[in-house]
């Protein structure tokens, strides 16, 4: 296939992935959490490290807490994510009752790698950036900004998130809780 055709393949893939993220955001913000869970593989790794202020030159080893070893904001799999959804659905999870108004703005979607190739890709590396706006009750307002580095896998013809590493651009968390999803 000539380069123009493969460039078009890349376009189609990019669009497919952007759509995936827009649909995901919609499910989250419309609180269709069970449908959102369906977008995750059963073996998903959902990790959000702590961030630290460290001396110049030591960022690589010390800026973020280590997956699987250190404390983190989130380091879990589908089971726990499913429990979070179930808890909200009880209607007595006070931190989310009444429900927050949450909005996910997704930008800078970058497909970083595709296997085995762009055409007929079955696994992708994708980076994207988010601004999550959360407003609740009277005037509680939080703005979260950061990056998601995902592994997407094609399962039964549909893309699913197999791994998500969330980098929140805060060291001390500037919110009382994290009762929603990134």
């Amino acid at each position: 296939m000539n380069t123009r055709e493969s460039a078009i393949d890349a376009l189609l893939l990019q669009r497919e992935i952007e759509t995936f993220y827009y649909v995901e955001a919609e499910l989250l913000d419309e609180r269709r959490f069970e449908e959102w869970l369906d977008l995750l593989t059963d073996d998903i790794v959902y990790f959000m490290p702590l961030r630290r202020n460290v001396k110049f030159g030591s960022q690589d080893e010390a800026e973020n807490s280590v997956e699987g070893v250190d404390a983190a904001w989130f380091d879990e799999g589908k089971h726990t994510l499913t429990q979070r959804v179930a808890q909200i659905k009880t209607g007595i999870h006070w931190a989310e009752e009444p429900l927050s108004r949450v909005r996910h703005l997704v930008t800078n979607v970058q497909v970083t790698d595709a296997g085995p190739g762009i055409a007929g890709a079955r696994e992708l590396g994708v980076k994207s950036r988010f601004l999550v706006y959360r407003n609740r009750v009277d005037d509680e307002t939080d703005i979260f900004v950061g990056q998601r580095a995902d592994r997407l896998r094609k399962v039964d013809g549909a893309w699913k998130v197999a791994r998500r590493v969330i980098l929140l651009d805060q060291s001390t968390l500037l919110a009382k809780n994290l009762t929603f999803f990134f």
Partner: protein, 470 residues
């Protein structure tokens, strides 16, 4: 408690009637006074030695509303200094942790040592650019080092400090509560100490007065209804509920003494746990969802039986050491501080604990469980912070301010705790420990508290028993 006993404290806290005014949670004046009277005089938790294992390691922590640096010098000795330059106040260290032989101020480069070899004293003013030329050798460096804490203590690896040179010794300050702090810090097999901090301290800001956290963990068994949603989804390590309930089921089994609220009126500390005992209860399987962890607990159970023999021991679920260090003693296992950021905000810092020599697989399961239970993303604690947030804002109302809070639960039903010389206990759900906390708080807030800050010369314990119902 009479007005003469607590002076100013009595304006806000009426322990005999179990009534406490709302303004202690929102008043700027009371907050400013807390900084001086409570955080300026009490022992405060700073960190854990396992966070700074090597010479020159440092960890930046807080005492009350202020930043402090915990350092380890070459000799291994640990120091705690105020994190502000003596020249113009610049924050000398703006990292969360690291390793440094000297702290050089970014503004004019005054340099402070952490090493007794560099200057006469750790924290001393090691370097002053152009000292001779411009200070004419007249600046008395010995007077301008980093401000050290007045007292520091290392208790089984946990580091504590106080700004008050007249503060009682740490072991006196902690009193009988020591037994329960041991239960948190000791290795699960009974060896003293032997726990370590999981890398990474969770820090987050909550729009709540700091005391709502302290009072919740000192003895608020009553609020479990608030956690029904998490119990319904079962995040516990054996499936059901949110934690294992270590109760022996079978007949004639060895059981620990009853689960109770145990409070230390002369100290202000309190814990929910089991009364002291001298023998392990029968083993109860834990973490049954993860056999390797269950196996680990079974193994150390037997080690504990052997190691402790007939020694006195306690079991701690949750507790608070006055004023702002709370802990989870069983599931999860953590130390946390409620740092005041003004009357209406606190910053919570959370240190998670594990047995230092536990297998990696065990540490991993525990860590994951801790994280789904606790902290801002913890299914359980999210709801606590929601309550504290709105309790704080409601405390500020003009009309609401006319209606003090109710701390009457179990008032007058306290009993002297067996095998403890300075504690009371109540087996039923009670607000005994909250009352003890605020009575102590009122004494610290009292300008003329003097002697009563020394637990051994305080009469709260005797007074409380004297007030008991027949």
């Amino acid at each position: 408690m009479t007005a003469t006993q607590t002076g100013n404290g009595a304006r806000w806290v009426d322990i005999e009637r179990g009534i406490i005014g709302r303004d202690i949670f929102v008043s700027d004046e009371i907050y400013a006074r807390e900084m001086q009277q409570v955080f300026g005089r009490a022992w405060l938790f700073v960190g854990h030695q396992s966070q700074i294992p090597n010479p020159y390691d440092f960890f930046v922590s807080r005492m009350g509303a202020e930043s402090v640096i915990m350092t380890r010098e070459k000799t291994g000795q640990i120091h705690v200094f105020l994190n502000t330059c003596r020249h113009r106040g610049m924050k000398v260290c703006r990292y969360d942790q690291g390793n440094a032989r000297v702290f050089t101020c970014p503004y004019h480069a005054w340099s402070y040592s952490v090493d007794g070899n560099l200057t006469s004293a750790p924290g001393g003013l090691a370097g002053v650019p152009q000292y001779k030329a411009i200070y004419h050798d007249e600046l008395d460096k010995s007077q301008w080092g980093l401000v050290p804490v007045a007292k520091i203590a290392n208790y089984k690896g946990s580091i504590w400090a106080s700004w008050d040179a007249d503060a009682p010794e740490f072991e006196t300050y902690i009193g009988g509560m020591k037994l329960y702090l041991d239960a948190v810090l000791d290795h699960r097999d009974g060896r003293p100490g032997g726990s370590e901090i999981i890398g990474g301290i969770q820090k987050w800001k909550v729009p709540s007065n700091w005391k709502f956290g302290a009072e919740n963990f000192i003895g608020d068994l009553y609020h479990i209804t608030s956690h029904r949603s998490v119990d319904m989804v079962s995040i516990g390590p054996s499936g059901a509920g949110r934690r294992d309930t270590p109760i022996v089921k079978h007949q004639g089994a060895k059981r620990p003494p009853p689960f109770a609220s145990i409070g230390f009126p002369n100290h202000g500390h309190g814990v929910i746990g089991n009364l002291p005992h001298y023998e392990e209860q029968d083993y109860v399987p834990q973490f049954t969802l993860t056999p390797e962890v269950e196996e680990y607990y079974r193994h150390i159970y037997h080690a504990r039986v052997a190691n402790l023999g007939g020694q006195k021991r306690g079991l701690a679920a949750v507790g608070t050491i006055f004023p702002n260090l709370s802990f989870h003693g069983m599931q999860p296992r953590a130390l946390f501080t409620w740092h005041p950021n003004g009357p209406r905000e606190m910053e919570i810092w959370k240190w998670y604990l594990v047995d230092a020599d536990a297998p990696a697989a065990v540490k991993d399961v525990l860590r994951r469980y801790y994280l789904r239970y606790a902290g801002p993303a913890g299914l359980t604690e999210q709801d606590d912070m929601e309550n504290w947030n709105y309790a704080t804002s409601a405390s500020a109302g003009m009309e609401a301010g006319r209606y003090p809070y109710n701390y009457q639960m179990g008032l007058g039903y306290e009993r002297p705790a067996p095998d403890l010389t300075d504690a009371v206990y109540t087996t039923a759900v009670t607000e005994q420990n909250q009352r003890i906390f605020y009575q102590r708080w009122a004494q610290y807030m009292d300008a003329e508290s003097g002697d009563r800050l020394h637990p051994e010369r305080n009469s709260n314990f005797a007074d409380m028993l004297a007030r008991r119902r027949a």
